[in-house]
């Protein structure tokens, strides 16, 4: 089933996948359409809607199979009036200590610099140079896929993923960057750490933006400890 912007597919008895697959559109434009449809459904959720999973150029829509089937949902989505708004989403400012704040914390800053024959400072400068768009949220609670990096520091994932990535790690993979909200496994290249506890931070939504700014180690420690005492 096709219409002008979206392709619809029933993937299970409780979910349809809506794809923006117009090859003429840039990835950001396709993601803007995903965010638009996601926003419309989230702001006035139909009673059969049970969940939404927006990603780069797709939106997975979960529905209550007791009430409706996929044909009903696809027709309802086609009827929606998608009016572009000027709402740009929120901007999250995230402090980063570019380095390892603790001895045992893994770091790939030098590795990334070596790959691109750059100094560490150049890698850091490139990483914080522009605001990044939240293309998707997933993998772990409040794990936001941010993009796109300047191509000068785009770096593939580690060949073997780490079994231990500490919470707060700020890392890159290809032209994406992200913050690990909790301790996890992971194969992304780590540039630094944020003292912000993302499990308490406001949630990221597709279409939001994230700006990274550098802090030194004493500031990192102060913010990290400040957060801990505030939580207790």
């Amino acid at each position: 089933m096709e219409n002008r912007l979206f392709r619809f597919e029933a993937v299970s008895e409780e979910a349809i996948l809506v794809s923006v697959r117009d090859p003429k559109l840039a990835l950001v434009e396709r993601n803007e359409l995903v965010a638009l449809l996601n926003g419309v459904l989230k702001s006035s959720p139909p009673k059969w809607l049970t969940d939404l999973v927006p990603s780069y150029d797709t939106l997975l829509i979960y529905f209550d199979w007791r009430q409706v089937d996929s044909y009903f949902v696809i027709n309802k989505i086609k009827e929606l009036q998608l009016i572009a708004s000027n709402h740009l989403g929120k901007t999250h400012k995230i402090p980063v200590f570019y380095g390892a704040p603790e001895d045992k914390y893994p770091l790939d800053l030098q590795n990334v610099a070596d790959v691109h024959k750059m100094f560490q400072q150049e890698v850091i400068k490139s990483h914080q140079q522009r605001p990044y768009r939240v293309f998707s949220v997933g993998f772990l609670p409040n794990f936001a896929y941010l993009g796109e990096l300047m191509s000068d520091i785009a770096t593939p994932r580690l060949k073997t993923p780490r079994t231990y990535v500490p919470a707060g790690a700020v890392a890159i993979a290809d032209r994406q960057t992200a913050i690990y909200p909790q301790r996890s496994q992971g194969g992304w290249q780590i540039l630094g750490y944020t003292p912000v506890d993302l499990r308490k931070h406001e949630g990221f939504s597709v279409g939001d933006h994230v700006e990274f700014y550098p802090i030194d180690l004493p500031t990192y420690d102060r913010m990290k400890n400040g957060e801990t005492s505030a939580a207790n």
Binding site: E14, L52, P54, S55, D57, P181, Q182
Partner: protein, 327 residues
């Protein structure tokens, strides 16, 4: 008043609280979670007259021993016809899939006898903190459950019930019960799949190979998904953008082996998917143990939905016997 009803004495491998799963939280990155064998889970609740998706205990890959702290009504839900778990109350054998009255300080011991998963429902409403509307333990997120860290139930844990009206009738419509169990086991021969997602990136020959091969459930399987070993399958996609993964989606990773993503799957992923398992097939996969053999057969979303609606109808009938008599 909150009433303690049960104290865990021993968990062989894993026991955790489950319900229908998180509500509207996948867009925040939380996995869906929920019971693996949804038929057995809902059956346990129906038998004690609870709402079908009330919190219950999911016991996996082993047995459990617990002690009653006060009089209570429980049911052990297990809708499969194979490898029936054994229920002992103070060493007396009792039946699965029946409401059982247990008195204070009686010891309940359930031996799996080869069963992969069974469910213990307690009449009433369990007092437990919730994450996005769900009591489920999710180990990989270190969230949820009685300890609020996804770690599951442990020896000495105490389950408490919220205040509730007095006990209901214990009548069971055994015809309806037997009919549900027999019918839900009809899918035992093959796991039904619906081709979707990137199925067009698999050639006709590769799809035929997938449908005609016998797979074995690998030991690296759990609530996130079931890994299979056997015939590998090739997609002609070299890379793709990550997208939302539905319950039952079958992804084919770089090694060409299928992995069926289930309750605790990650919300999005970037491997090609050949299709998805649905309906009764999902409940059947909740009973798949390492070493079990699996074959797939082509089915359809409409059939999956019909199976769910029919099962729900039968389960509500079983539940309503308990509901109506005392009203």
């Amino acid at each position: 008043m909150v009433r303690p009803v049960l104290q865990i004495k021993q968990v062989d491998f894993n026991a955790q609280l489950v319900d229908q799963g998180r509500q509207f939280a996948q867009h925040l990155g939380y996995c869906q979670s929920g019971a693996m064998d949804w038929v057995s889970f809902k059956l346990a609740n129906a038998l004690v007259g609870n709402p079908l998706e009330a919190s219950a205990i999911e016991v996996s890959f082993g047995g459990i021993i617990f002690e009653a702290q006060s009089k209570m009504v429980i049911a052990i839900g297990y809708a499969s016809e194979q490898t029936i778990p054994q229920v002992l109350i103070d060493n007396q054998t009792h039946q699965i899939n029946q409401p059982l009255v247990v008195n204070q300080s009686q010891i309940i011991k359930i031996l799996p006898n080869g069963a992969c998963r069974f469910y213990v429902a307690i009449q009433g409403s369990i007092e437990v903190p919730e994450v996005h509307g769900s009591c489920c333990d999710v180990a990989k997120e270190t969230l949820g459950g009685l300890h609020q860290d996804g770690s599951g139930l442990k020896s000495r844990d105490i389950i408490k019930l919220k205040p509730s009206p007095p006990n209901k009738s214990l009548t069971v419509d055994n015809c309806m019960l037997n009919s549900l169990v027999a019918w839900s086991n009809l899918t035992n021969k093959a796991i039904p799949v619906h081709f979707c997602y990137q199925h067009q990136s698999f050639s006709r020959g590769q799809k035929a190979l997938f449908l005609s091969s016998e797979y074995e459930v690998s030991p690296q399987s759990g609530k996130q998904g079931i890994r299979l070993s056997g015939q590998n399958i090739r997609s002609n996609l070299t890379n793709m953008l990550s997208e939302g993964i539905c319950n039952g989606a079958i992804q084919i990773a770089g090694d060409g082996l299928p992995m069926i993503l289930l309750a605790d799957r990650q919300t999005i992923g970037g491997y090609p998917k050949i299709g998805a398992v649905g309906g009764l097939g999902l409940a059947r996969l909740g009973q798949a143990k390492p070493g079990d053999k699996i074959v797939f057969e082509l089915s359809d979303n409409e059939i999956f939905r019909q199976q769910r609606l029919l099962a729900e109808n039968m389960l509500l009938n079983i539940q309503s016997v308990n509901r109506t008599i005392h009203q």
